[in-house]
């Protein structure tokens, strides 16, 4: 038997040791990854966002891949915003059809004009960018999203906050959370 060089043999030993410690860990992954071992990740991330409770509730109520990472979390958040924004857009369009108040109709139409590019382009492009690791571009998209929502919000500052109620507010908070998460991605 040829003598195996020392370097190779110690290297091989290390690999074996590493593998034997890792495998037990992966086997013990719980099916809901946020609980137990990785419950800290959701907590860690949400603590760094401006709306911890909202962030936490979303991450805990959504099933995720076995190995959740920051990128996956960001993607989940953006897709959540997209769902919420699409919903809000349908709601706005429904309100427009049912109202007879001209002023309200104009303000709602303006908001629809803000939400359409959001749902059609800005949020889907943010999601694509995150999947492709283009976090800078995703960051631009999210700040554009914030601008659109803010301009809709401004239309209703004052008396008649009623029509969109909390919806716009929630979407805005979600975007703030997503923005914070993407900033973490850019740093790391």
């Amino acid at each position: 038997m040829r003598r195996i060089p020392n370097l190779v043999s110690s290297f091989a030993l290390h690999i074996i040791l590493l593998a034997s410690t890792c495998i037990p860990f992966t086997l013990s992954q719980p099916s809901v990854p946020w609980k137990e071992g990785n419950g800290d990740l959701a907590d860690q991330i949400c603590k760094k966002t401006p709306f911890y409770d909202l962030c936490s509730s979303i991450l805990h109520s959504n099933p995720l891949s076995p190995k959740p990472d920051l990128k996956g979390v960001a993607l989940l958040m953006v897709n959540n915003i997209l769902a919420n924004a699409s919903d809000t857009l349908s709601y706005i369009e429904g309100l427009i059809k049912s109202t007879s108040d001209r002023e309200l109709e104009q303000a709602l139409a303006f908001c629809a004009e803000s939400y359409i590019p959001l749902v059609k382009y800005i949020l889907p492009q943010a999601a694509d960018a995150i999947s492709q690791g283009r976090f800078g571009f995703a960051s631009y998209c999210i700040s554009d999203a914030l601008k659109e929502i803010n301009s809709c919000n401004k239309k209703f500052s004052g008396a008649s906050q009623a029509p969109l109620g909390d919806r716009n507010d929630i979407v805005q908070k979600l975007v703030d959370v997503a923005s914070a998460i993407i900033k973490l991605l850019l740093k790391g």
């Binding site: 382009y121 800005i122 492009q125 850019l186």
Partner: protein
């Protein structure tokens, strides 16, 4: 096919390779750097065309710019494009003159806050504007090497709202034999399936003008950063009978009823401006149509032809391919000979491939202009997201080339304007700054029913006066209108005495970029004359004659007649943005853009006044003046936070 993609030059030097471990290499590199800095340091003002201009924009000299004798220089013409330099119209004696001692404070004030311009160097024609996947794209003729025309390539920027722009890497550079002498103007066509076709003019290595096809390398990239030139370029060369330097600026294509795509390209035959027409199915092979879309004698070369439909009834824009009974067509040309943009409204016969103007007096190249000031090489596109037709115009400088090189940049673009038919008159277009510019409005000041007696100036107390959006309405008192005698006076802005020439019913308007002592001011005003049988005629002018004490800037008075219909007040809107003033009368019936270069009425010293220099009329006016925010136009940095 190698594709250089140099980023727009930024002011940061590149750090030397930190990983070099060999001391000798480091020393050698340092010596090389030092010697190259010595060789290329500083800037030279050169009088020879096509010289590379290396402006040292990193560290502007501390106080004043070294003065220099300057000579009028003609660029471009020798290459076969229009006069691109800015100093051929000075009313100054031949030969050398002492330039005004511009200092850096005055020069740096001139940069605009919310108009599109690259970070530095020369820009001219707008190219290939379009809306794609949620982004507005803007390309432009750009010289990466200096603040004068030359070494032209395609710059690129994107925006969500046509106001807040992000600079991207150059889209196309002169890396092929067929665009070696310049990647010139072109237009975008978006096919029904979403595919993007870019047609542009290349000046070949032998300075022949040919048309080339390019398309995005990755259509799924919403920013369309990379472009591919079709391997079979050029797709069009000058046809027989057309000069090698008289064939440029292909338009956006429109569909014919046969399902083919049609484009037009401007040219000339002797002194007659013409538009050639080509049909194509794949944008690679073309059929030259027999007829010319239009030909007008004595107009000279037609550059940047544009051809599009407008609705006769509705305010919205129309896709370039749209046609029907409710439609008129607009044909626009940039005249090489006088550097103005003209448009004509008429009907388009698809079968005969022919455009007929509604009014032969307003034929292509002889009638109405988009803008009576500085506005050239303009181009429209259809914005399908907001269903509007949008117009871009190149606004060159009207100061000296020497000052452009000193300040390190030249030219801006107009604020994009929506274009539609004026349904009240039916015979002209209306242009208006896109609504998105209003997102820049900050606080406002309102002045209601200010009365100005004949020969008076009223100060409008606003905080600062260099970035403004002004909306104003004026009324002449009824008594003066009736009492004033009729006259045969024919008033023309450009030959008048400007705001100093007093008439019974004008001039009255605003003094922008004025200083307290009124040693510098730019009047934007109405001048009303009463003709036979009591009809009023109104001119709308922008007067540069007293805009600056400097001797090496344009002092012209620009403007034109503006139709004022019965029951309408005199209304105007002015966008003031440092060295550019864009003025619109009667909702955009007549527009005047000018460049002004005050030396005193800058920064906090700039003021705004309402004036009435008429001899008889008392003018009542109401104003709303908004302070305008900056658009923070900046490079796109995908690796940094936004």
């Amino acid at each position: 096919m190698e594709h250089r993609k140099p980023l727009l030059p930024t002011s940061s030097h590149e750090a030397p390779n930190p990983r070099s471990r060999k001391d000798l290499l480091v020393v050698l590199f340092g010596l090389l750097l030092l010697s190259s800095l010595v060789a290329f340091g500083g800037y030279r003002v050169s009088n020879v065309s096509h010289d590379h201009q290396r402006s040292n924009t990193n560290s502007p000299s501390p106080t004043s710019v070294p003065s220099s004798k300057w000579y009028p220089v003609s660029r471009g013409v020798s290459s076969g494009v229009s006069e691109k330099s800015s100093n051929k119209l000075f009313a100054v004696k031949e030969g050398a003159s002492e330039a005004f001692p511009w200092d850096n404070s005055m020069l740096s004030w001139q940069r605009t806050a919310f108009h599109f311009q690259p970070e530095e160097n020369w820009m001219n024609d707008p190219n290939g504007p379009m809306y794609y996947k949620g982004w507005y794209h803007f390309f432009y003729q750009y010289n990466p090497n200096g603040a004068v025309w030359g070494d032209i390539v395609w710059g690129h920027a994107v925006s969500r709202d046509m106001i807040h722009w992000l600079h991207l890497p150059l889209a196309m550079v002169a890396d092929q034999w067929y665009d070696r002498q310049g990647v010139w103007t072109g237009s975008a066509t978006i096919l029904p399936d979403g595919k993007i076709i870019m047609l542009y003019t290349g000046s070949t290595n032998e300075s022949v003008q040919v048309q080339n096809l390019a398309y995005p390398a990755d259509p799924s990239d919403p920013l369309l950063v990379d472009w591919i030139k079709h391997p079979g370029n050029p797709v069009l060369v000058p046809p027989p009978g057309i000069g090698a330097k008289d064939f440029r600026d292909p338009t956006t294509a429109w569909l014919t009823s046969e399902g083919k795509w049609r484009i037009t390209i401007g040219s000339k035959l002797n002194k007659t401006g013409i538009a050639l027409v080509y049909d194509t199915e794949d944008f690679k092979t073309y059929e030259l149509k027999e007829g010319l879309l239009r030909a007008v004698p004595k107009t000279g070369m037609w550059e940047c032809v544009d051809f599009f439909p407008v609705s006769k009834k509705a305010a919205n824009g129309l896709d370039t391919s749209f046609n029907g009974a409710e439609v008129k067509h607009v044909m626009k040309v940039s005249l090489d000979d006088d550097r103005h943009d003209y448009y004509s409204i008429g009907t388009y016969d698809e079968k005969k491939v022919f455009f007929t103007p509604d009014d032969s007096k307003n034929d292509v190249g002889v009638g109405l202009r988009y803008d009576y000031g500085i506005f050239y090489a303009s181009k429209t596109f259809y914005d399908q997201s907001k269903e509007r037709r949008v117009l871009w115009g190149w606004i060159g400088e009207s100061d000296s080339e020497y000052a452009d090189v000193a300040k390190g940049w030249a030219s801006v673009q107009s604020i994009p304007r929506t274009v539609q038919l004026d349904t009240k008159t039916g015979s002209n277009l209306l242009q208006w700054p896109v609504a998105e510019v209003e997102s820049l409005r900050l606080r406002n000041d309102e002045f209601k029913n200010l009365k100005a007696k004949p020969g008076s100036v009223v100060s409008l107390d606003i905080e600062t006066a260099t970035q403004l959006d002004i909306v104003a309405e004026f009324e002449i008192d009824k008594e003066s209108l009736e009492k004033t005698t009729e006259s045969n006076e024919k008033y023309t802005c450009s030959t008048s005495g400007g705001s100093k020439q007093r008439g019974a019913l004008g001039p009255f308007g605003l003094l922008v970029l004025a200083d307290d002592g009124l040693s510098e001011y730019t009047p934007v005003y109405f001048y009303v004359t009463k003709g036979s049988n009591g009809t009023l005629k109104t001119s709308f002018c922008s007067d540069q004659s007293r805009s600056s004490v400097a001797n090496d800037v344009h002092k012209q008075i620009y403007g034109s007649i503006v139709p004022v219909l019965k029951g309408e007040k005199f209304s105007l809107r002015i966008l003031v943005d440092h060295s550019i003033v864009e003025s619109f009368a009667q909702g955009g019936r007549t527009c005047v853009t000018s460049r002004v270069y005050p030396t005193k009425a800058i920064y906090g010293a700039a003021r705004l006044f309402f004036f009435n220099n008429a001899t008889e009329a008392t003018v009542t006016a109401s104003f709303t003046v908004w302070q305008m925010n900056s658009a923070f136009i900046r490079p796109f940095h995908p690796d940094q936070k936004s």
